[in-house]
Symmetry: C2
Subunit: 234 residues, 2 copies
Amino acid sequence: MPYIHTHRILVALDCIIFGFDGEGLNLLLVKRNFEPEIGKWSLMGGFLNEGENLEDAAHRIVYDLTGLDNNYLEQFQTFGAINRDPVERTISVAYYALVNIEDQDLNAIRSHNASWISLSKKPKLIFDHDRMVEEALNRLRTKAALNPVGFELLPVKFTIPQLQKLYEAIYDTKLDRRNFSRKVLSTKLLVGTGEKDMGSQTKKGQLYTLNAPEYIRQQKGNFGFMPELIMAED
Amino acid sequence: MPYIHTHRILVALDCIIFGFDGEGLNLLLVKRNFEPEIGKWSLMGGFLNEGENLEDAAHRIVYDLTGLDNNYLEQFQTFGAINRDPVERTISVAYYALVNIEDQDLNAIRSHNASWISLSKKPKLIFDHDRMVEEALNRLRTKAALNPVGFELLPVKFTIPQLQKLYEAIYDTKLDRRNFSRKVLSTKLLVGTGEKDMGSQTKKGQLYTLNAPEYIRQQKGNFGFMPELIMAED
DNA sequence: ATGTAATTGTGTAGTAGCTACACAATTGAT
DNA sequence: ATCAATTGTGTAGCTACTACACAATTACAT
């Protein structure tokens, strides 16, 4: 027997998908070829299906667009202003995702008419999506200062300077190379592979990978991963 | 024209209402005299109405139960497991509120069959409400370490030892009296009233009030109000 | 009024962590 | 081999937190 005299509404999910291209943070945005607001940019989103958990729906949406599962995904806020969707009353549960930009499924992205766009060149988005991006970035900043999470944005093997560039991008700041590397190594989160990076930009950095058990452990509690980076949220 | 082929569901809100009685944190809980789960304890909740913002609905729910508006209220998570409500698929947007236990409207509380219950003696709650309380406390702990928020739980005028007891309750720990008072006074958040507390417990503490503009300013950014209190979340 | 116990406020040494920078080691190219 | 670019280690200065000694204040009993 259902509840009576109650109002059922649409529940959407919107995903702020962050990627890192070695220089700055990027967003995976969709140029809409469907109504409403056709032709404009928006976040990737969708509706919650019958018999589907919120978490599962968020994963589904990210998977549809990138072909990737197992991404870092965190719910951060639910947006419920009355007129946020002009078509019909809809509340939207927002998640941000961190994905490795290199592992993406280019076909999936093309078929959704999506592109990676530098956060610094973000166009105006539809509805309240601009605010969602802003809040997602705030959340990512606080989270990454307390727990090691940014690594999800890098390839499996990476150099310390690459990791530093990532943190500089997240916080839009410059960090001291020497202190950064010392700090990161002291966490025991990284294990050297012995290999060197023969790739494009860096010349001599040793490649590291995550020490998976320690990584999982430190994601659980608040360890103050880089507490000095906590800064104004707004 | 509405969206088609989409699934509309119930949106509920649940409020974790924290109060402080001078010793420990308390929760305002409802002993249900209505179905489902009549006779069991639950959080105060309600459904989102047509034409009502999420924020407004949360304020309405807290106001109905306590007679108080203008409380500190923060949305912290949306719970959407398929079977979390056995009656019908419902997602619930959870907020926690900080209220001054002394200002409450006793009639409103009685008429809802609600009581203040010490967090340490919390009974088992219905549905997923236990987890909501757990997550709310985690969130409050992180929040109170980064920003001054706990003051909402105290009377307008309070002594520093009272404030210390509050922080000790939130973090379930003991703090050094001398360092605590120094730290708090250094924030410029408090202004002495000159008056003394002739009340019940404390004997000689000067009464302080909030320096409102500074309080509002420091709630906005992350200033690391008491960063040493950040601890494991789980 | 005066003394005593309880409580509150100030000083400070020790420690840990962050910042800034000097200097050494390593790598890749000529 | 030599040099330039890059990366790794040492360390002094600063700030903030901790722990505790000691001084000041208050409440209350006599």
